[in-house]
Subunit: 328 residues, 2 copies
């Protein structure tokens, strides 16, 4: 009998669920509202209901090897949310594994949402064919996921991969984590908006810049998309901001390369809708921050799987962590 | 029959060799001159001769599962030295595996000397009982080794763990690697001497400092040991230098913790003869540079095995990488 897993991707707005077979074939992609504003208990209820919905679609519930979950923030080895999920009020301290087991008699494995994304890219996307890779999601913040020897590396306590909080500018911009100069403050969507507003008054150039004018006259209109639209349109201030962003990002990636010597770094998240310009610029700066021999054996590419990477990775995680039931 | 491995630790001055059984029991620790000044070919001859010497001490050569080697610099997956071993002229491009196999019909596995040290500390020393750890050797330079899930992590190309070249001060002190502000320039023995000489003229304090006087009057006498002897003797400039050193080291360790969330960081190498003062000071600074949740699950300790860690780790590496012969 074909065994299957259930994958759940917990986002601030929507929950996504999927059924996956061991060979990676998936079905029943389902999306329901997270209802994050109703608190952590309601979010958990919605997750459990979604699992139930997916189980009902299968002929034999006994073939389910377990549930994989990707969530913002930290999850410890017992499946308890330790924090770091600011957009999910009341989600902290939730006991995921015991709730899933009590309701369905199924084991669960949960980890950070970018970590499951990294696993999905490794198995089905931009990371196919390489054993050691690091995935960064450049979104509202910056999340990281690490794949070592084709397996998710979560660290003993499930919390590895906080690459967004690598400090790239000592005494730099204060970060939500309490420190200063984290790469997240420069290369996330939020960071890009902030530094665009901050640098507009001091940026000088002979050529006229529409982006600078917008940033000065209507700073509330600035988004990462607008910055990159202008950069790709050769706006000099846009090009300058892209260079600042990518240089800071390159510092963090250089550190990651010096430490892990990954075969590949995959950049995803909303900011990467800008595409090639970021890959090209960051790749130009990275060699300034790591050993040449390591950089020659690493490439930086864009993520391939898009917004369903998380749910696919979550379902894969279940096979990786809970899959031994298939050998019974 | 008990299988055994041979471990070789290649140092700039001496070669060390050992025979190890699978349970970690070791014997025949032997030390011969490296003769690095006679070039890479002579070094290889000496390594091969040392292997022969150790094989002769065993009853059955057939029980040898292979040779593990720790070497300065980078070794690629085929056992070719790629560089990074400046104190071994002509060692670059040496084909280690094919030479060992051609001479003795034995397989070999080689990697960076700090990486084998990390493996030894993991199995026999300060890393016992934890699965994920990082080892730093604070010597003339700073080397790094990573153990993940109780196994050496070398990266696909054998070059992971270049933690000494994490940049902790953008536009800081120029490093031998060609970049600026690598932690090696602040927290290695060389770095400590340099910043002591550099900061002596500008350091001001009400209390008198013997160390400052020495650094100004006889800068050639400054060593890391002298700096730390004075720091432990409450010399104010010595205490200040220790704080500068450990703050920079903490920046690199914070980055490592944010990335890998190790259970433990082990500090070894000559500088660590200073002992507790470094552990205490760096541990005070690290929380400024990483997530609290990750730091709460990591401790920083001194290496335990001393100068034989490398050769023990090299012999262990052989079991890890070549050990399947024991199942034949």
């Amino acid at each position: 009998m074909n065994t299957f897993s259930i994958g759940i991707d917990l986002g601030g707005t929507n929950l996504k669920g999927i059924v996956m077979e061991r060979d990676g074939t998936s079905r029943h992609l389902t999306r329901v509202p997270t209802e994050a504003d109703k608190g952590g208990k309601k979010v958990l209820e919605n997750i459990l209901a979604l699992i139930g919905l997916l189980l009902e679609k299968e002929i034999s519930r006994d073939s389910c090897i377990g549930v994989g979950l990707g969530t913002p923030g930290f999850v410890d080895g017992d499946g308890t949310v330790l924090g770091g999920a600011e957009n999910l009020p009341g989600w902290k301290s939730t006991s995921i594994y015991s709730s899933v087991f009590a309701t369905y008699g199924l084991k669960a494995s949960a980890t950070n949402d970018v970590t499951v994304t990294a696993l999905a890219e490794s198995q089905f996307g931009a990371g196919k064919g390489v054993g050691n890779m690091v995935c960064l999601a450049l979104g509202t913040g910056i999340g990281g996921g690490i794949v070592i020897n084709n397996q998710v590396y979560k660290g003993t306590h499930g919390m590895a991969g906080e690459i967004g909080h690598i400090i790239v500018e000592p005494d730099g911009i204060p970060c939500t984590c309490g420190h200063k100069g984290c790469v997240e403050q420069y290369a996330s969507a939020t960071g890009i908006v902030n530094i665009t507003r901050k640098l507009a008054p001091v940026y000088e150039s002979d050529a006229p810049s529409t982006l600078k004018r917008i940033a000065l006259e209507s700073p509330e209109l600035i988004t990462a998309k607008i910055v990159y639209d202008h950069a790709k349109d050769n706006d000099p201030f846009g090009i300058y901001i892209n260079d600042v962003v990518c240089e800071k990002l390159a510092r963090a990636l250089g550190t990651v390369i010096n430490t892990l010597s990954p075969d590949r770094i995959i950049l995803g998240g909303g900011v990467m809708k800008a595409g090639r310009i970021i890959i090209d610029t960051v790749s130009r700066h990275v060699p300034d921050f790591c050993w040449r021999q390591l950089w020659e054996r690493c490439d930086i590419v864009a993520a391939e799987l898009g917004e369903n990477a998380g749910v696919l990775g979550a379902a894969s995680l279940a096979f990786a962590d809970l899959g031994d039931k298939s050998h019974e």
